[in-house]
């Protein structure tokens, strides 16, 4: 009977493969049970109508979570989405605008090329916004699914459903609370840095203004060599983004957050040290220009450069260690407060 087939199909269409067949078989046998022997089309119609809306039944059968971001996280999602979108689009717009200042469209140029540039700039900004929205959404979906070990309930720092009075957050104390302003500033800095390295690495360098008012940039970084590092940088930035969102939501340190945070900063530290020590990453012309500018010999500039390298490496190690210890102390403080 085609009507029965269609009804069963409507119910089971969206169900996961592993239960589809069994549900179909059972539903069919149940429907046939409702029918008298030698039934007519009218009987089938009556039985199916009695059984009710097949999509409603399908929903009852559906074992999967049927939302991406639930009500507990929704308002924070919207808030962070706006925040990150604002930051990213501003940064991309700023870099594009900066680009124009450095290399202005030549005077008397075809107005249509100006329009083209404007369209391109808008497209770049929109694209940056879309990327940001996508990643923030994915991070929230992951949090919603418990991939970061925090529950969907308001007490996001509690890892299981059992809560006691001691889990209640202590009233805001600046020393243990993760500053939201700090988190946002760090996010802006990280995104700005990445955007420059990703879109316009040649902008890092020093600028000499020529007689005609146009700047010449002596870039520090070798763009080709930099390509090698881009994937690592992007992965680390993504981890940073996850940490930003996580910190923003949880607001207090916990052991798991601290572990991931410290691991990420150690990785960033290692990457930076490797990059600083990679001589092929830096353009020789930059140092030649510096030598000329300060009336020094190239060899003395390169010697200075080695010094600076060492200072940078030592600072990276100290900052990373200090940050890890500092956040660890805060994590412990939060724990002590609770017990």
């Amino acid at each position: 009977m085609e009507l029965i087939d269609r009804y069963v199909y409507a119910v089971t269409e969206q169900l996961p493969e592993d239960m589809k067949e069994d549900v179909s078989k059972e539903l069919r046998s149940n429907i046939e049970d409702m029918l008298p022997e030698d039934y007519t089309v009218e009987d089938v119609k009556a039985a199916l109508e009695q059984l009710g809306n097949p999509w409603k039944i399908a929903e009852e059968y559906q074992p999967k979570q049927r939302y991406l971001i639930g009500p507990a996280l929704y308002s924070q999602y919207i808030k962070l989405l706006k925040l990150v979108l604002g930051i990213v689009m501003t940064i991309v717009a700023a870099i594009t605008a900066f680009d124009w200042v450095i290399t202005p469209p030549s005077e008397g140029a075809d107005p249509s090329s100006f329009a083209e540039m404007l369209v391109e700039a808008i497209a770049t900004v929109a694209n940056g916004g879309l990327q940001a929205a996508l990643w923030v959404t994915l991070i929230f979906v992951a949090i919603e699914r418990g991939w970061f070990g925090i529950t969907r309930t308001k007490g996001l720092a509690i890892t299981d459903d059992s809560w006691s009075v001691k889990d209640l957050p202590s009233l805001p104390v600046q020393s243990t609370k993760i500053s939201r302003t700090g988190t946002v500033i760090a996010m802006i800095a990280a995104l700005l840095g990445t955007a420059i390295i990703y879109f316009r690495p040649e902008l890092i360098g020093f600028y000499v203004r020529g007689d005609n008012g146009v700047y010449t940039i002596y870039s520090l970084l070798e763009a080709k060599r930099l390509q090698l590092y881009i994937p690592f940088i992007l992965v680390l930035v993504l981890i940073q983004m996850i940490l930003f969102v996580w910190k923003y939501i949880v607001q207090y340190w916990n052991t798991r957050l601290w572990t991931v945070y410290t691991l990420a900063s150690v990785l960033i530290g290692i990457l930076l040290i490797v990059m600083v020590n990679d001589t092929a990453l830096f353009q020789e012309s930059f140092f030649i220009e510096v030598a000329q500018l300060f009336d020094a010999s190239l060899s003395s500039v390169l010697k200075q450069r080695e010094m600076i390298e060492r200072v940078i490496v030592v600072s990276i190690v100290i900052i990373t260690l200090w940050d890890a210890v500092d956040s660890y102390m805060k994590t412990r403080k939060v724990k002590q407060k609770k017990s």
Binding site: D22, S29, N30, E60
Partner: protein
């Protein structure tokens, strides 16, 4: 007046929904299949909608309160459900909870009548 009626209806649905699991578990000391359970409950004046019952049986099976078996000996294959050991335990506990609850509620509602 219509909205009061609607409100009562939706509250009734909620009230009944809470007792549904208990009702279904109570009838599954011996194996039943979907339609036989519907008829059984209808006879006992506790009708349940088929569209609600079938998915519910499956959910209870997934929660391991019920075990199931396909019977293919008859002309039409049927899936039979029955209480599992865990299901029996849960049912006993739920039953006593319900009895306490309904007694308490009855006593409270009686007070009002005086």
């Amino acid at each position: 007046m219509d909205s009061t009626e609607e409100l009562i209806n939706s509250l009734m649905v909620e009230l009944k929904r809470g007792t549904l699991v208990l009702l279904v578990l109570s009838q599954l000391h011996q194996p039943e299949y979907g339609y036989s359970l519907i008829q059984k409950l209808e006879e006992k004046n506790a009708p349940i909608e088929a569209g609600t019952l079938y998915p519910l049986l499956r959910r209870l099976e997934k929660q391991q309160l019920l075990k199931s078996e396909w019977d293919t000996t008859e002309s039409r294959p049927r899936k039979f459900y029955m209480l599992s050991e865990q299901g029996k335990e849960v049912y006993a506990k739920l039953k006593s909870e319900w009895q306490t609850l309904s007694q308490q509620l009855a006593a409270i509602l009686m007070e009002e009548n005086v």
